[in-house]
Amino acid sequence: MEKGKGVMGSGRRWAVDFSDNSTAPSSRDIPDPPGFSRASMDQDDSAVSRQKKDAEANWKAQKAWEVAQAPFKNLLMMGFMMWMAGSTVHLFSIGITFSALWQPISALQGVGKVFEPYKDNKVDLLGPKLLFIALNLGGLALGVWKLNTLGLLPTHASDWVSSLPPAQEVEYSGGVIPL
């Protein structure tokens, strides 16, 4: 729908696709230049590949730590937003508080997924994961604290007695001014 809509109209007679960069030999009708071996690219030179793998593992570990630290920024952002929202219950503050609660929870649910791309035998993901979880728990705590400052947590006696029915009375006394 997007690309080359006009060209693809009914008037098209022929077309050359220059953009084909596929490596599959079947899609190629032009032979490789002399001296170029497509196979050599795929072949593994053991030394080069180990080096490469190390670099990749390093890179993955570094990335994993970065990802693990990401909620910290979020935390700061959230804190700022919460401070802005004030301590009265209204749409804005409730929205912020609930997003502050929801974000860590959803992040915690998807811990495995977040670190999926950095999974490697050589990379130790425990540290980043723990940091990630800790930071998210911190975020959650912040959310709960906000909830409490909004007075939405049942931490006061009033929250438990406000709908207590009146106590029954043992005695009954009736009477009015004589009719």
Binding site: T155, H156, V161, S162, P165, E169, Y172, P178
Partner: protein, 988 residues
């Protein structure tokens, strides 16, 4: 940082804006009559004066026992104009002068007023004073013309006045104070300008004064003594003859004055009746030559034939009512006679001079529930064939007013509803299943049509006719006047008991009378001579068990006015209005105490206390006594003796020790008494909580999540006492010698929980007690203003139950039963405010679960009902509430309570002669039904915190439906389009 501050302050402002949208209770002009109805009445007619033929328009002017003067349309019985005088301004007489003024004498004869006949505007008012208290008599001399003026002769307070009817100026006056004269009548013989004043002096002296009506000159004074004494009234038979009874009521005296000589003729009544059956009474009437006597149940008509000779015309034991004389032609008079015979009444119009020559004889079928005819007023009109026709206005036992003409009831007015003494409510029957399909379809069509119209209205597409159609549809919605229970509980029956002893069931939807029942019906007169209806109680309210039984009410009455008179109980089915049973009690009824227990058929147990302080249990069933015995030791009662200034508390002791064994009778034992010093305090008001009031919670959450526990005892009595000197009118005492004391008394133990003195204040006190607070209204003499005070009472002994963990785990004793003997420690908070109005009545809204905030309903002196939020009467109000308190909804303290014009519940209407306001919870928690009664009736629905649990009446369902349909259609269309597009893409 600055931006954050700005945003924060903006948010705060936004919040402030939302919170300032107070739920002010008001309605739009087109909403009038949707939820409310208003009915106007006049009360039992005392006197009726017909317009003379000349004035053209067919009207009748009446005065009533509710102090109303009204002009009624003779064609339909509608009110042209009406004035409700104050309760102490009792009307003594009315008449018409110079053909255009209605003259009324009121206030014990001290105020004479003239009202313009066509529009009811007051023309003049004169105040007439006199030396001593006496009977008040009004006489308009229509045939004495002085410069086109009629002279009004008023005898009042021992003085005879002649007043000009044009401007109310007193022309002359004459005192009758010197003699110990008891004036009985002022007589004007037709065609002369003399006035006779007739009366008794020293009970055995007959006095007669002849006065010139033009200048008040005393022309003649005659007197004669009669040893037997006189009883009651004299009746004028002819210009020279009067009849009276002697003091024993057994001898008829004919008094005739001939050429200045008064002569007596004695006729023993036994001669006339045959055998005398007790004292006779002369029925006042003004027919020339004829008078009637009542001896027991027998009515005798007697004609005086010159020189004191009497002739018995008719003796009848039918219930009879006679009208005054009506002059039909030169020198000829006629009068109407109504007699009861079974379910019919016989109306006869007779000429005064010929007993058997009936001018008219008609029989009219009369509803038995209207009782006897009490009064008859006759009027004539000229038919198209130039002959005379007669119409009569009759007042029935149930205070209704009917016009009879040509053998038919032309119209009737249920004026008994002007004097309601008690109100209760009843549910309507549950709707039966199985409605026909056609009806549903029709209803659906109507519903759709209605909503389309409404939608047009909201989209501003409606034409003026459409708007009118919408308005009339809203007003006449058949939904609100159905005879079945509705989901929201708006449709109910208001059961009212009137002073005439008649029960009415009014539908809350439109105020129509569903059924009526006269307690003292025609067939049982011997059981109880003067039945007085006293109170109404809900006897049986089936809701859980016994669903197939109809609800019923208990009517408590008394035979005769004295406290010791035996009581009468009547049980009336509220669906049909039929009397289920009635009991004539052997004991008297001093108090009725509905107990908080019901038996298996949902009949409520009632305790009736008689004058000897025995308690009688009803219903008299073994089951009831079983329930009662279980709770025997916990039932107490108290009595307030406001004459002696004593409040006494009693407990039940044992079975009655009388000769007749009565299982249901119990002796009482006095437990405590509170004696107010009679020299300094007099009880002026008491009030308790309503038995059926529902309270949602015992805790009140205040700012900072703190809790206060309400002291919610049903056994609390609020008593207001005032200095005996200060119990009179406002302004009769100085502030120094007047005070008002308010007490809160526990009626089980007699413990005084709270006492507060308001110095320099006086009654009348109007109070209302609800939940844990009482609000009362009184006059502050120092500030020269009315004041309202609130007392809230809290349970201090529970104040420490604030451990969250205990509450979470349920290890608290907040819901365990409490006893008054545990002497809970209480604290009270109170505050006073100025209030502009004086009150007639005060009530509080009540809802089904007690969650909705409360409003006070104030019946103002202007006969309107004002709703005032309870928040304005919160003793925790302060001048500068903290932020937390503001959030809680505490209003900054002001010295006076605001009167918001929009919060008048009665909007532009007035409930004339307002007496009481009754609130009934609807099933919908937000809504309460309000019924205000006086001479008029007013009913409306109120939502003190707005209708938060339902859509408003003007919500456009059609718009909602159309939006949904349009959305669904749009979804389908776009879905199909996208499908098609996708297909095209794939084909490419």
């Amino acid at each position: 940082m600055a931006i954050a501050m700005a945003i924060r302050s903006f948010l705060f402002l936004l919040l402030l804006f939302f919170s300032s949208l107070n739920p002010i209770l008001s309605l739009y002009e087109d909403q009038v009559g949707l939820m409310d109805w208003h009915q106007q009445f006049i009360g039992k007619v005392k006197q009726a004066v017909f317009h003379t033929q000349k004035t053209g328009r067919k009207r009748v002017v009446v005065s009533t026992e509710e102090n109303v003067i009204a002009s009624l349309d003779l064609r339909h019985g509608e009110i042209f104009w009406r004035h409700v005088l104050a309760t102490n301004d009792v009307i003594d007489g009315i008449d018409i002068a110079i053909g255009k003024y209605v003259i009324t004498l009121s206030s014990g004869g001290s105020i004479l007023r003239a009202w313009n006949l066509p529009d009811g505007q007051m023309v003049w008012e004169s105040s007439l004073q006199g030396p001593k208290h006496s009977k008040s008599l009004l006489l308009v001399l229509t045939n004495l013309k002085v410069d086109k003026d009629n002279v009004v002769i008023v005898f009042t307070n021992g003085r005879l006045h002649a007043v000009s009817s044009i401007d109310g100026e007193v022309l002359w006056k004459k005192d009758f104070e010197a003699e110990s004269l008891d004036v009985q009548q002022v007589i004007q013989p037709p065609g002369s300008d003399l006035v006779y004043v007739v009366g008794f002096a020293a009970s055995s002296q007959f006095e007669m004064y002849q006065i010139n009506a033009r200048n008040g000159e005393l022309l003649k004074h005659e007197s004669a003594a009669f040893s037997g004494g006189f009883l009651g009234e004299v009746s004028l038979v002819s210009s020279e003859t009067l009849v009276a009874l002697d003091s024993t009521g057994s001898i008829l005296l004919t008094i005739s004055s001939h050429n200045g000589k008064i002569s007596f003729q004695q006729t023993p009544i036994s001669n006339l009746v045959g055998d005398s059956l007790g004292p006779a009474v002369i029925t006042p009437s003004s027919v020339t030559g004829i008078f009637s006597l009542k001896v027991n149940a027998i009515t005798i008509f007697i004609r005086v034939i010159g020189e004191g000779k009497l002739e018995v015309l008719e003796k009848t034991n039918l219930k009879t009512a006679v009208s005054d004389a009506l002059s039909i032609s030169e020198g000829k008079q006629a009068f109407a006679l109504i007699q009861h015979a079974g379910s019919e009444i016989h109306l006869t119009v007779k000429p005064a001079d010929d007993w058997d020559g009936n001018l008219l004889k008609e029989s009219i079928k009369m509803d038995r529930q209207r009782g006897l005819v009490h009064k008859v007023f006759i009027n004539n009109y000229i038919r198209t064939d130039r002959s005379y026709g007669f119409r009569v206005l009759i007042v029935m036992e149930d205070h209704s007013l009917l016009l009879l003409q040509q053998g038919e009831i032309v119209w009737s007015r249920e004026d008994g509803l002007a004097s309601i003494i008690d109100v209760t409510t009843s549910e309507l029957p549950v709707e039966k299943d199985g409605v026909s399909v056609a009806k549903v379809e029709h209803n659906l069509f109507e519903w759709l049509k209605g909503h389309m119209l409404k939608l047009k209205g909201t989209l501003m597409l409606a034409s003026p006719e459409d708007m009118a159609a919408i308005q009339s549809m809203r007003l006449k919605s058949s939904e609100k006047s159905k005879m079945t229970r509705d989901h929201n509980g708006f449709r109910k029956l208001l059961i009212v008991l009137t002073r005439a002893g008649k029960l009415f069931a009014l539908h809350t939807g439109d105020g129509r009378i569903v059924w009526s029942h006269l307690l003292q019906s025609l067939h049982k007169p011997q059981a109880c001579q003067h039945l007085i209806g006293l109170n109404l109680y809900q006897w049986q309210v089936p809701h859980h068990h016994a669903m197939d039984e109809n609800p019923s009410v208990l009517v408590v009455g008394r035979c005769g006015p004295s406290l010791d008179a035996p009581g009468v109980l009547s049980f009336v089915d509220t669906y049909t209005g039929k009397e289920l049973s009635s009991l004539s009690l052997a004991h008297s009824v001093a108090q009725v105490i509905p107990l908080p227990y019901t038996d298996s058929t949902e009949q409520r147990l009632h305790l009736l206390i008689d004058a000897d302080q025995h308690a009688h249990l009803y219903p008299k069933t073994p089951e009831a006594i079983g329930i009662f015995q279980r709770e025997f030791s916990n039932i107490y009662w108290y009595s307030v003796e406001d004459d002696n200034g004593i409040i006494k508390g009693y407990a039940l002791k044992s079975k009655c020790t009388s000769e007749v064994a009565d299982e249901f009778c119990f002796d009482s034992r006095e437990l405590w008494s509170v004696v107010f010093p009679s020299e300094s305090e007099k009880i002026i008001a008491t009030v308790t909580r309503k038995l059926n009031e529902v309270v949602h919670t015992q805790a009140k959450v205040i700012a900072d999540q703190d809790v206060m526990y309400k002291y919610l005892s049903r056994n609390l009595l609020f008593v207001a006492t005032a200095a005996p000197k200060a119990s009179g009118e406002i302004g009769s005492v100085t502030p120094e010698e007047s005070w008002l004391v308010a007490y809160l008394i526990d009626t089980v133990t007699g413990r005084i929980l709270h006492r507060v003195t308001h110095h320099g204040s006086q009654g009348p006190v109007h109070a209302v007690f609800s939940e844990n607070w009482v609000v009362y209204h009184y006059f502050n003499l120092r500030a020269h203003r009315y004041e309202m005070s609130v007392i809230e009472i809290y349970d201090q002994s529970r104040a420490d139950d604030k451990d969250v963990w205990k509450l979470v785990l349920g290890k608290h004793n907040l819901t365990s039963p409490i006893s008054s003997y545990s002497r809970p420690e209480v604290i009270t908070k109170s505050q006073s405010y100025f209030f502009t109005h004086s009150l007639k009545s005060i009530a509080v809204t009540s809802t089904a679960k007690g969650i909705t905030s409360k409003q006070l309903l104030i019946g103002t002196i202007g006969d309107q009902v004002l709703a005032l939020d309870k928040r304005f009467l919160d003793p925790r109000r302060s001048v500068n509430p903290t932020q937390a308190e503001k959030e809680e909804g505490i209003i900054p303290l002001t010295d006076s309570l605001p009167i918001i014009p929009q919060s008048y519940v009665t909007h532009a209407l007035r409930v004339e002669g307002l007496q009481g306001i009754v609130t009934v919870p609807a099933k919908l928690e937000s809504t309460t039904l309000v019924f205000a009664h006086g001479v008029d009736l007013f009913f409306t629905q109120l939502a003190p915190s707005r209708t938060y649990d339902s859509l408003t009446e003007d919500f456009s369902y059609a718009l909602l439906l159309i939006t949904i349909v349009a959305l669904v259609a749009a979804i389908f269309v776009t879905w199909i389009l996208s499908e098609r597009k996708e297909l095209q893409e794939k084909w490419r």
